[in-house]
């Protein structure tokens, strides 16, 4: 019995030590970066603001979503363009081999208004950034 207990106390810490060292060695070169730029994407809020073509106005959109990234004047039409840009980067640096993957996601919403300021068309992008 004594022999068995001595054996187990010697092996268990050494295995854990090796595992810990391996984990440290593997994770020492992991890189993760993220940044966002643009407006707050309130169109992804829960519950999402509701707009109706022909009924909602510029005032409704501005009060729900805030100032847009860009306002385009197209003759007697107006366009509100909302944009949130999220850049995410993940990397593994293992000296011998390194890999980084960068993804730039654009969460967008666009609203078209007629000369009277009524919403004629709108859409949000298929790419989404979670609202924080």
């Amino acid at each position: 019995m004594k022999t068995i207990s001595t054996h187990s106390t010697r092996t268990v810490p050494s295995v854990a030590f090796v595992l810990l060292l391996s984990l440290l060695a593997l994770t020492s070169g992991c890189v993760s970066k993220s940044s966002t730029q643009g407006v707050e994407n309130r169109w992804r809020a829960e519950p999402a603001p509701v707009f109706e073509r022909g009924k909602s106005t510029e005032h409704d959109v501005l009060s729900a979503l805030g100032p847009p990234s860009q306002v385009i004047n197209a003759g007697n039409r107006t366009v509100f363009y909302y944009l949130l840009e999220a850049k995410r980067s993940r990397g593994v640096i293992l000296i011998i081999y390194n890999q980084t993957v960068e993804r730039i996601v654009y969460d967008r919403a666009i609203f078209f208004f007629d000369a009277q300021g009524h919403l004629t068309d709108f859409s949000t992008s298929n790419e989404k950034v979670p609202l924080q």
């Binding site: 730029q37 643009g38 004047n73 197209a74 993957v101 967008r108 068309d121 790419e127």
Partner: protein, 223 residues
């Protein structure tokens, strides 16, 4: 592996010089990197839009919000873009006193570019649309770097720069030649648009007198 011309048994004819070279390569190759950058959503492979029938509302509903929008003489212009940059680096280092902390890297980069351009008339009906989808080498680069450094050696800032919409309004604080040229600016959303890869010293930008910067300065300016 190539074999040296010899009359010996097949198991014995592996050329020692080639084997030595192969082993040196294996042990000296270090700091190989694979860097990818995906900008924007990929565009659908098949478009469900019809010229003369589809409306602006149909397009934004089925395809999504365009990368850029501009007013045009007859209505609107939409630009959809997707870019993917892939850079592969191969690096070697030598086991000498100082050189062992450095790696000598060669990089090659490729770009996949997709773009759709659509024009709409005053009734919001699709007038015309065109698309392009191509792959091409973006450039090559070489450097001596500290062993743990991982950075791009090919300038891809034109593709990865922030969207122009972030600078709407702030553009009025640009240098005077650029502000005076806003009547022709494709960044504003009122006077046409341009793809990300368009150079800034030709066409409508000519009067802005923007000189092309060397890659390192351009990288700093775009940050």
């Amino acid at each position: 592996m190539k074999k040296c011309p010899s009359n010996k048994e097949p198991a014995q004819v592996v050329c020692p010089k080639l084997l030595a070279l192969f082993l040196v390569c294996i042990f000296s190759v270090t700091g190989c990197s694979h860097l990818t950058s995906d900008v924007g959503p990929p565009l659908p492979s098949a478009a469900t839009i019809v010229t003369g029938k589809s409306t602006l509302g149909d397009v934004v509903t089925t395809i999504g919000v365009p990368s850029q929008v501009s007013a045009s003489a007859g209505g609107f212009v939409f630009l959809y873009e997707h870019n993917e940059v892939v850079e592969n680096q191969i690096g070697i280092s030598f086991d000498f006193p100082v050189l062992r902390w450095l790696k000598f890297v060669y990089a090659g980069s490729g770009l996949r570019h997709e773009a759709w351009l659509m024009t709409f008339d005053t009734n919001d009906v699709l007038q015309a649309w065109g698309k392009e989808d191509w792959k091409k080498p973006l450039g090559t680069g070489a450097a001596a770097q500290i062993l743990v450094t991982v950075s791009s050696l090919v300038d891809s800032t034109a593709v990865r720069r922030p969207a122009s919409q972030h600078r709407w309004g702030e553009m009025w604080l640009n240098p005077l030649p650029q502000v005076l040229n806003t009547g022709q600016s494709p960044q504003d959303g009122r006077f046409g648009l341009e793809q990300r890869l368009a150079p800034t010293f030709v066409g409508q930008h000519t009067l802005e007198m923007i000189q092309p910067l060397p890659p390192r300065k351009a990288k700093k300016a775009n940050k």
